[in-house]
Symmetry: C2
Subunit: 400 residues, 2 copies
């Protein structure tokens, strides 16, 4: 048969990461790799009650075709929970926030369109944008997010800049208030739309992050949110908030893609969320993840002592970012770590341009404190062996 | 802000149909318009039991991220229920079969690619393909489906032909065994891939339709199926079966779009389907829809007597196709019908090329027998008034 692929499909390649990580599903491996929320946090009983309630009270409507925009009470709940003035008519419920990225790509990207991303950026966004064949351009970034001068320098003719200001995937970094104000002003000045992705914003440990960029200029931003990290990812429920100028196009793209997000799960989540459930539930997730972040930092400090290993201390979210000594390539290190029953994600695939081979992402949310201790110890042994093997002998004297 | 739309988005227009049909959601209107399965057929208790069971037995896994390919037992169940030898590795679970169309478009359509469709064809497919900017070409069709000579004449350089052989949306027609054999042979001869969409195939009334086209040449077809019509549409669960040469590309497109189909609803449906549930449940749907189809045909025969109204008698599915007397434009007739509290879907939007303005689609599944009687009587009055208004006076003598 003459199966002729579209140009965009001919360019698609299996996710490097996915291929690498298949091996990490082996039993016995402690995975610090995947971005899987801790299943301990899933409110199973609340979901069970919500299913029973929805099917008992509104069974027929919960199983019928429904509006492409989403379930009205859920759209209202989203508008109510966001910290700026959102009209529910601007809220589109999506099949996970990943779908929001696909819709944005369809509506805003032509082949060759310049789109700006952080250095590094969320790999799933690069994958979602990819089929529309953009030219993704990395904006120089530091520990506070994109650097404004470089953003301004690259803004011309860019369709948008994609930013993840809170506890970014993969770096765990957060954009400061000062940087947000500067980025927001610079983007508005340049007429550059912002796609703001905020799946992790509720997972703060000591204090809530600064206001979203969208709150500062709602007409200039599309905001993407998710229920995956505060309730459960397996329902695939997210949302976007778009200016009225763009919303109808996103809605038409949504209709064409899957008619609507499953109404049953929308009603389930709406039922779970009533009576302030998230206000009671989310603090328990924050407390758990904070304990695990602390454990990971303690373990890294202890086990990597004397090695030239840099890592950050994220103020929330799920991920920590580390950089190993010169000469190390984390893609090559991974299979050796897996032999010692620990997995991580190499950092290079997260870069739109040339990746830094010394970087890696560590998730502190899926594994328990005990597992984190074991895993980081195993990672340190792997690293020390690799350094010796490389003849680098960069070991400093052991700490006293 | 400088929101520059992608070319594909600039071309998107609000669905004519959707705008027209908004008015039909008014209370008091009997809608023969939407393709909504009868909510009486939704197995609410079975779903309630399945939710409780899944959350009790596998709550954490049912709420966690999952494989992009879909839930393995559900893929196996799909393979088992199809009437040819399907490897579960070829099954991809989709967020409704509409998503299958989006994935096919992404993988097979370049801007300007010729894609062949029936005359008329499923509007949702035209909408799903649209963002990839194909050149859709209508293949001449009769009451048995596409005409083979015209298919062959147009096959050159076409990326695929999209066919809905069973109880087609919008016409309700079914491709005969003879036509299937000829279409399958002609497509294979021309090297023309077939996208076979089969959401309605299980809804047969007196006898099962002939074997799918895909069963005759699995390497030359992508098959799309759905749980919407046999269980419930509000879960948005469908599937596709693709040859091994194409599957990896569809899977990559799926990952980029939404990571995976909600695993909770996949497990729910898998739990509902065990122990042969569909074998007991689907016959009740068939019986209900057959009664309602019979009622609609009887009402049309009675109420349209003496008018030049042609309609078919579908052997299954949800829709009946009618053609009104010369001079009638069903798009213009619709608001007048709505004034008389009945709604239908005009036929013209279902044509890739120039539509036949005299055609309309009537759903016999959502309204009850009593409602169908009232609605068809109201439609006949509307039509008679319109004919008089047109000065056409085509009224034949009233039947004795």
């Amino acid at each position: 048969m003459n199966w002729k692929l579209a140009a965009r499909a001919a360019k698609m390649n299996p996710s490097v990461l996915r291929e690498i990580l298949k091996v990490t599903e082996r039993p016995g491996i402690i995975s610090l790799a995947g971005g899987l929320p801790s299943p301990k946090t899933f409110p199973i009983q609340a979901f069970a009650d919500a299913c029973a309630e929805v099917l008992h009270n509104d069974g027929q409507a919960a199983l019928q075709y429904a509006a492409s925009e989403g379930y009205a009470p859920l759209r209202q709940a989203v508008a109510d929970m966001l910290p700026w003035n959102v009209d529910p008519a601007q809220v589109l419920i999506t099949t996970g926030s990943q779908q929001g990225l696909d819709l944005v790509a369809k509506v805003l990207i032509d082949p060759g369109s310049k789109v700006l991303v952080e250095t590094p950026t969320y790999l799933g966004a690069l994958q979602a944008f990819g089929p529309m064949e953009p030219n993704p351009v990395s904006v120089a970034s530091d520990e506070d997010g994109v650097i404004v001068d470089d953003l301004v320098a690259k803004a011309k003719d860019a369709r948008f800049v994609y930013l993840l200001p809170n506890f970014q995937n993969p770096t765990g970094r957060t954009m400061t208030e000062e940087r947000r104000a500067a980025v927001s002003a610079a983007a508005a000045e340049a007429g550059l739309p912002i796609i703001e992705d905020n799946p992790y914003g509720e997972l703060w440990f000591d204090e809530a992050p600064p206001l979203p960029l969208t709150a500062r200029n709602p007409e200039g931003c599309i905001y993407l949110g998710s229920f995956s990290k505060v309730l459960a990812p397996g329902l695939r429920l997210g949302f976007l908030v778009a200016p009225k100028a763009i919303y109808p196009k996103l809605l038409q793209a949504k209709q064409a893609v899957d008619l609507h997000t499953p109404i049953f799960t929308q009603r389930m989540v709406s039922a779970v969320m009533k009576d302030g459930f998230l206000d009671r539930h989310v603090p328990t997730i924050r407390a758990l993840y904070k304990r695990q972040r602390d454990a990971m930092i303690a373990a890294l400090t202890r086990e990597m002592a004397g090695l030239d290993v840099k890592f950050n201390a994220p103020k929330g979210g799920m991920f920590l970012w580390a950089r190993l000594p010169e000469g190390i390539d984390t893609v090559k290190l991974l299979p050796k770590a897996v032999e010692r029953n620990v997995a991580f994600v190499p950092g290079a695939p997260f870069y739109a341009g040339l990746g830094d081979p010394r970087t890696l992402r560590l998730s502190f949310v899926t594994a328990s404190v005990e597992e984190i201790d074991v895993a980081i110890a195993a990672l340190a042994i792997t690293l020390r062996e690799e350094l010796e093997l490389l003849g680098e002998h960069k070991l400093a004297p052991a700490p006293v």
